[in-house]
Amino acid sequence: MLRQTWRYRDLVVSLTRRQYQLRYRQSFIGFTWAILTPIATLGAASLVFRHVAKLGTGSTPYAVSTLAALVPWTFFATSVGFGVVAVVNSQSMVTRLPFPRVALPLSMVGTAVLDLLIALALFAVVAVLTGAGIPASAAWLPLLLFVEFVMVVGIVLLGSAVNVFARDLRMAVPLFLQMWLLVTPVMYPLSAAPHRLRGWFLANPLTGVVENARRVLGTGRAPDVHLLMPALVGALVLFVIGVWYFGATERRFADVI
């Protein structure tokens, strides 16, 4: 399946480009949405966690610390949100044309990567404006994002395949993302979580990515390996399961969809 995907890379690129154009076609503010989404989340988060819950983020400004975590989270949420429905939404292509179905969810992850780049630029602007600056440890970020990318591809492949057979997933995904956002240290640092629940937080593979992003972008420290390992293992497991399940069932998509 991986080799076939490579052979059809033009298709993935083409679909990504199309999806990206389409997402903002006939809308007023176009790709400003890519900036607005993390900003709005940041605004709400800062209201609740900084002013209501009086949460401290140490020496790093709350906005920078939270935005550092929001960048990888937004990538995760857009990929999963759009990716899971990717195959079902392209019903007319799936039932009529022979092409590797994996191109559909991958192109959705591709559009999320473009959003991610915009969000990173936004982070850079905010970091400079608030005077926090961009630490040298930001060079670790590509590694973290790569781990997240592998995880996201696994989840999206698994989810988009299951969604073909059981549309329940379409309903479940927003709910699931909402809950996942709350249990992942995005709007609050991991240090604010009670210590006895730390094991549970680490069981969430996204914790390692998000909290380490906060470390390398915000506080300027190298990634914490103890945090990263669960994320890496989780990413690999999800990737293998996703690729296997999608590959095993994709021949049936056109019949069931």
Partner: protein, 407 residues
């Protein structure tokens, strides 16, 4: 060389769309294990769209596929195109496949014509750079250059299928699967496609052609298969298969029961290739054909039973459509005083001077001022048989009489 090799293929679909089914989610090998362990659970609510079909198509040849709606024609093409996988059996193909499985082609409604052309080519494994060279030719071929930057949702079905066909010409397929796509284009574009397909075949391309337009199947293909309920009922030379298929349609009994004109009924009639409409006030009850020799080369007698509820005068009309739905001839009776109530009349037709083929009679009853009271395109066909020689002794729709003299 065999371009397409289909052996013992069965395709099972589930009937109806309801709740999600757990059995469909099982990945291999668990699906096969449970299918063996619980065959009843596995087979519940399913039907075989293709039932143990074996077929080999040599490269450089063309094969027509005919059959009534729901016979499995499209499913067979989808299996060959690898859009769907066979439940049992194997499908092997060699060469790049281009497929147009219906008029919508799988285009995205919000993308422009140009973007869709690129996307369709990419789906066939054809990269952007190759396509960039062809894109202007594509729109020139489809004759819709002015629409290149219009979203596809503003296209008519005919224009969309033009674009689909034109894009396929650019990706240089070796095997081409075409399902009823030419039916939506107008006559000029159809001609253009047929010419292109002729060239495609001469250059060694393999063509699979599905159509209800039997005239087109006849001109496009040398050999054909006739599918019925997922099985191959006939295969061989196109002329023979079409004659066999025509005979089967001919033996279908015309519907004689009183027809309720509900929307559902109209839909089901249209699905069977039967059309009936009219303002009412009189209706055709029964139409019966008798052919003394049954080969269409002798006088044909048509008896019509009718019932009139409005007006005293009526005119009757009998005409024939050819395989492509074109009206090729007919007659309108003089105005007759029929009176209210039931009645019947006969019409004798001299031997039809038609080339071998399948013809569909249309009978209608008109008010004296020409308003159509009941118009019925019969499901039964009239078959004119050829003399069995490979070269047809007629060209065109009419059988003319000639005398050749070598001097």
């Amino acid at each position: 060389m065999t371009a397409i090799d289909v052996s013992n293929v069965t395709k099972t679909y589930r009937a109806g769309v309801g709740k999600a089914r757990f059995r469909e989610m099982l990945p291999p090998p668990f699906d096969r294990l449970t299918a063996t362990a619980f065959p009843h659970w596995w087979r519940k609510n399913t039907f075989d769209a293709i039932d143990d079909v074996t077929l080999a198509v040599q490269s450089g040849t063309s094969l027509g596929i005919v059959g009534h709606n729901g016979a499995g024609k499209t499913t067979l093409l989808k299996l060959i195109a690898c859009v769907t996988a066979p439940t049992r059996g194997t499908v092997k193909t060699s060469g790049r496949i281009g497929s147009l499985l219906d008029a919508l082609v799988g285009f995205h409604p919000d993308l422009t014509g140009r973007e869709n052309a690129y996307l369709l080519a990419a789906m066939h494994g054809c990269g952007r750079r190759t396509m960039a060279k062809h894109i202007d030719n594509i729109f020139a071929f489809a004759e819709i250059s002015s629409l290149a930057d219009t979203p596809l949702k503003r296209f008519s079905a005919g224009m969309a299928s033009r674009l689909g066909f034109a894009t396929l010409t650019a990706i240089e397929p070796e095997i081409l699967l075409i399902d009823e796509i030419l039916a939506v284009g107008d006559a000029n574009f159809q001609r253009k496609c047929v010419d292109w397909l002729d060239g495609f075949r001469r250059n060694g391309g393999t063509l699979l052609f599905v159509s209800h337009n039997l005239a087109l199947v006849r001109s496009m293909t040398r050999s054909a298969i006739w599918l019925d309920h997922g099985r191959i009922l006939g295969r061989g030379e196109t002329a023979d298969v079409l004659a066999e298929y025509g005979r089967a349609m001919e033996s279908r009994e015309p519907e004689s029961r009183v027809v309720k004109r509900t929307a559902n009924h109209r839909r089901s009639m249209a699905a069977r290739g039967e059309y009936r409409w009219g303002v009412g006030g009189a209706r055709l009850e029964r139409v019966h054909f008798s052919e003394p020799n049954g080969d269409g080369r002798h006088a044909l007698e048509i008896s019509i039973a009718y019932e009139v509820t409005e007006g005293d005068d009526a005119r009757f009309c009998i005409s024939f459509l050819d395989e492509s739905g074109r009206e090729i001839g007919g007659t309108v009776s003089p105005s007759m005083t029929v009176g209210r109530g039931s009645g019947s009349l006969r019409c004798a037709i001299e031997p039809l001077p038609l080339r071998p083929g399948i013809y569909f009679p249309v009978v209608s009853i008109l008010a004296s001022d020409g308003v159509v009271r009941d118009h019925w395109r019969l499901e039964r066909a009239v078959v004119v048989n050829g003399n069995g020689e490979p070269l047809p002794d007629f060209l065109g729709p009419v059988a003319m009489s000639f005398a050749w003299d070598q001097s």
